[in-house]
């Protein structure tokens, strides 16, 4: 038994030595990745168990940050709930929308396709154009939606879309949906274009009846990598919504109606400088993302099954 293990190690070392060139080539990226991604995550994990205000050295306080987070911080619970709403609504909806648009656009002739791709991708390259939405959802009667509703006579006075607790979250979700036709959309188009046409022909011979079956049994399984990429992108982006909340609903939003985990994190990290507590929030977010990603991967494995 021991001998066997020893041999394993020898074999591994020999393997590494044989592929040393690859390791050297990979090294620059790996080092940078380690320093700028892995290390901060680990550090944050460590700091989350301490009290750290950037002036004094961190002081170990055990689970206190987490206990405070889950049992004392009502705002965090609101943020958690809002984030989950975002993730549950925008995540799947925009994922499916991305795929459907990609699928439809893929059917168009090449020149129109290129143009339409640009049109649909535009929202996410345009970056911080929340201002448009600010005009649309403006709280006075000059806001587009208010003006429209009042012109039609559906409402008599302007609605404070971005200042009324009842509407903030829905408005944010709509804007987020609009913004989310991004990278995963491009990835889906790429995936659809690399599709092996012969597979579809073979499927037709093997008794595929309609386009839905074609989609389920051939198209989707063969673009599983792109789907996975899209899912990961979509989940991380919908769980990390913060900018639009700050830009549209303000910071903090009315009665924390548009508060998300990331805005909570910003609050404690960059305003109050309670780094230990902020790290705990970040860790919780990290764990949530990890969990949802694992879950989606499991679900994606079922496609075409």
């Amino acid at each position: 038994m021991k001998l066997e293990k020893h041999f394993q190690w020898v074999a591994l070392r020999r393997e590494i030595y044989r592929n040393r060139h690859y390791y050297i080539l990979m090294a620059p990226y790996m080092i940078i990745f380690f320093i700028f991604t892995v290390l901060p995550v680990l550090a944050s994990l460590g700091i989350s168990f301490t009290y750290f205000n950037m002036l004094e050295p961190p002081r170990f306080i055990g689970w206190q940050n987490y206990s405070r987070l889950f049992l004392n911080d009502d705002v965090f619970l609101i943020a958690l709930r809002n984030t989950f709403y975002f993730a549950i609504i925008t995540g799947p909806v925009s994922y499916i929308a991305c795929f459907l648009f990609a699928w439809i656009i893929n059917e168009l002739p090449p020149k129109i396709r290129a143009f339409m791709t640009l049109v649909f991708y535009a929202p996410s390259i345009s970056g911080n154009v929340y201002y448009i939405w600010q005009i649309i959802f403006s709280g006075d009667k000059y806001g587009y939606i208010n003006g429209f509703l009042m012109r039609l006579g559906l409402t008599l006075e302007p609605i404070q879309w971005l200042k009324d607790e009842r509407y903030i979250l829905s408005v944010l979700i709509i804007v987020q949906l609009w913004m989310s036709l991004g990278t995963s959309f491009l990835a889906f188009i790429a995936g659809l274009q690399t599709l092996d046409r012969s597979l579809i022909e073979a499927g037709a011979v093997d008794g595929i009846k309609n386009r839905w079956q074609e989609l389920w049994y051939i198209v989707l399984p063969s673009m599983r990598p792109q789907l996975l990429f899209g899912a990961v992108m979509q989940i991380t982006s919908s769980l990390a919504v913060a900018d639009i909340s700050v830009a549209l609903a303000g910071f903090p939003s009315v009665n924390y109606a548009g508060h998300t985990i990331v805005t909570h994190l910003m609050d404690y990290g960059s305003i109050r400088f309670e780094m230990g507590y902020a790290s705990a929030i970040a860790t919780v977010l990290f764990i949530i993302m990890l969990g949802t990603n694992l879950l989606t991967q499991k679900l994606l494995r079922k496609i075409g099954g």
Binding site: G62, W63, Y66, S67, F70, L71, N72
Partner: protein
């Protein structure tokens, strides 16, 4: 021998009937027992809060008998104004009913003017007198020396019809001098007059109550027919009062939950109705009696208000949140009972009830219980929760059925930070909102102590998952019990219904399947019983007094049987392949999710707050939908139907169940009639020989 037996039977029967009559007699002699309504809307006995002590009439006052008095008004607990409508006069006394003066006329610009059948009276703090002089179709406003300030006789406005006839009946005046008049034949609410007597607007109209059937007729009829029909008009108010803050309390005899209203300056109803029963008088009544007819309302300090039920002569007192505090009074001939009560007022904590037909005023004084309850409500209203809790405790000692008091005690504990006690008391008072509030705090407090330990254990467990998977889980799976196929395939069925239902139909042993089906049914019954008994307070709305385990089993078994029978009888006609036993098995197997989701929640629901009830409801609906889906797949597989045909049969099955239920009802009804016929015949024979 036979004769003596018959004799014995007859004697015992007579005795029994006697007993019944005697019992009801004894009951009738009894003064109406005091009661209150519980959370479950049962009437629960309560000690009397008020006792009638005195009767005041015209002779006692020394002004001759009163003739159809209609209103009384108490000014700052020092002066009492009695409106003696039949004699067209106002009798003014002090708080002890010592006569001060009698007003029967006033000097109107040099002429002597009299009232004619006045119905309502109001007096302001500076002794200005407002009289709704109904017979003369005017409102008279007199100053402290009885000189007319303003006389409102025929208001003019675009809001009023040409032929409008102003018949004021009741009247209140707010601090700013605005006059609110309840006029006869006005459906648009109260008429509001500015202090100088100009009609400004209507406020607080009742909403139109529409009977859906009548509405349907109206829709179907022609314009001509419609014009001849009774129009839907809002009901009139029956009385009004005004509180210290200028809110108008109004009552109407509409028999809805909104009979009592608290109107703000805009005429919007802002009465809180958080009590166990809506503030509308009696909520339990026989059909012949009908609901309460509210005729007067009186509000005192601390938002306490009382309403007078003209039909049964009872006075119901509520606090500002709409909780019923106590009930007293009744119709009859003895002290504390009335013939035609028309008005109530309060002098301090004493009640005055004016009887129109008898022309007398009954004075009620609070008993110890009434005093304690009043004091408790007042202390709580003033924010003195400590004293309120003390008073509520005393009230509970006098009346353990007074559920509202437990909530008051709970609130004091909540304020003090004793969450555990608060939770207990809120549960006692069935106050789910506050219970949840207290419970969250209590749970946090408890969790905070265990949090580090809990998290550490959790982290260790997560880090050790691979090890657990490798060594322990394998061993658990290796236990012979888990190896049993019979235990595993029902569980596999709920996640892979298509494959497993097929296996169920064609591969597996039917006898074993049947046994498992019965076990599932038994487990589901058990789940229902556990749910009814042990579900958390926030999600459990079962009245523990009406709980019956056998009925719960029936509720499970009968629908399943109905479903199977209906489905079987339908599918035999629709070329379904399934036999009855197969249908039964597939249906039972489809019920597994209800058990799997239901049982953990029985435990979990005891540890949730109101916010988390959403999760409970969500998972219950998931279970139901999952069950429906399994039912669908099972049906499809058993009968070898296409999906659309399965959906069709399932819908038809539901219809058939309705039909079957109807037949059963008919059958039982007939049996019952037959039985009662037999019983009658038997009795007849007994009585004759």
């Amino acid at each position: 021998m036979i004769r003596s037996k018959k004799l014995f039977f007859i004697i015992s029967l007579v005795l029994f009937i006697n007993l019944l009559i005697g019992y009801s007699n004894a009951y009738a002699d009894y003064a109406p027992p005091s009661y209150n309504y519980s959370y479950w809307r049962d009437s629960a006995a309560a000690p009397a809060a008020y006792e009638a002590t005195r009767i005041i009439n015209g002779e006692l006052l020394g002004v001759g008998s009163l003739k159809e008095p209609t209103d009384i008004y108490v000014l700052n607990n020092e002066r009492i104004y009695i409106l003696d409508s039949g004699n067209n006069r106002i009798i003014v006394t002090d708080a002890n009913f010592k006569l001060i003066k009698v007003i029967d006329s006033f000097d109107n610009n040099g002429q002597i003017d009299r009232f004619s059948n006045p119905q309502g009276i109001f007096v302001t703090d500076d002794y200005h007198l407002y009289v709704a002089d109904t017979g003369n179709k005017r409102v008279v406003h007199l100053d402290e020396n009885l000189r007319p300030v303003a006389i409102i006789d025929s208001p003019e406005s675009e809001l009023l019809a040409e032929n409008f006839e102003f018949k004021p009946a009741k009247i209140v005046v707010d601090k700013a001098g605005r006059i609110y008049v309840m006029a006869i034949g006005v459906f648009d609410g109260f008429m509001e007059f500015s202090p100088d007597g100009v009609f400004t607007t209507f406020i607080g109209a009742n909403r139109v109550k529409v009977d859906p059937i009548e509405y349907l007729w109206k829709l179907l009829s022609t314009r001509e027919q419609r014009s001849r029909m009774v129009q839907f008009v809002p009901t009139e108010f029956t009385n009004l009062d005004i509180d210290e803050d200028g809110f108008i309390y109004a009552v109407s005899a509409d028999n809805t939950d909104e009979d009592v209203k608290r109107l703000n300056a805009q005429g919007i109803d802002i009465l809180r109705r958080d009590g166990y029963v809506p503030p509308r008088g009696d909520i339990r009544y026989t059909r012949e009696e009908g609901p309460s007819r509210l005729i007067d309302i009186d509000v005192t300090d601390s938002e306490i208000y009382s309403i007078l039920d003209a039909k049964r002569g009872r006075i119901f007192t509520y606090n500002g949140d709409g909780y019923l505090l106590y009930i007293f009074g009744g119709l009859g001939n003895s002290l504390g009972e009335f013939d035609t009560p028309v008005a109530i007022e309060r002098v301090g904590d004493n009640f005055l009830v004016l009887d129109k037909a008898l022309g007398e005023i009954t004075i009620f004084e609070p008993t110890e219980y009434g005093r304690v309850v009043n004091e408790a409500i007042r202390s709580y209203y003033q924010g003195d929760e400590e004293r309120a809790a003390e008073m509520f405790t005393r009230a509970v000692n006098l009346n353990a059925n007074f559920e509202y008091a437990y909530g008051g005690i709970g609130k004091a504990f909540l304020r003090k930070g004793d969450y555990e006690k608060a939770v207990e008391y809120f549960k006692e008072s069935m106050d789910r909102k506050n219970y949840s509030k207290a419970y969250i705090l209590y749970r946090r407090e408890t969790l905070r102590g265990y949090f580090p330990l809990l998290m550490t254990v959790l982290c260790i467990l997560i880090l050790c998952t691979p090890l657990i998977k490798k060594y322990i889980w394998r061993n658990i799976r290796g236990i012979p019990l888990f190896e049993k196929e019979e235990l595993r395939y029902p569980l596999r069925l709920i996640v892979h219904p298509y494959d497993e239902y097929w296996e169920l139909k064609y591969r597996r042993d039917k006898r074993v399947n049947l046994i498992i089906s019965f076990v599932i049914l038994a487990l589901l019954s058990l789940t229902r019983i556990l749910q009814a008994q042990y579900n958390g307070f926030l999600v459990n709305y079962n009245n523990p007094r009406e709980f019956n385990s056998i009925l719960e089993v029936v509720y499970v078994v009968v629908p399943v049987l109905f479903w199977c029978i209906a489905n079987w009888s339908l599918t035999t006609l629709m070329d379904g392949e399934g036999k009855f036993s197969e249908i039964f098995i597939s249906t039972c197997f489809a019920l597994i999710p209800l058990i799997l989701i239901g049982i953990p929640w029985v435990l979990l629901s005891n540890y949730i707050s109101a916010d988390e009830v959403t999760f409970y409801n969500f998972s219950q609906s998931v279970a139901a939908l999952w069950c429906l889906y399994l039912l669908f797949v099972g049906n499809m597989t058993v009968h070898q139907f296409t999906p659309s045909k399965t959906v069709g049969t399932m819908i038809l099955t539901v219809g058939t169940i309705g039909f079957l239920a109807f037949l059963c009802l008919l059958f039982f009804n007939l049996i019952q009639q037959l039985l009662s016929f037999a019983v009658t015949v038997f009795r007849e024979i007994l009585l004759r020989f």
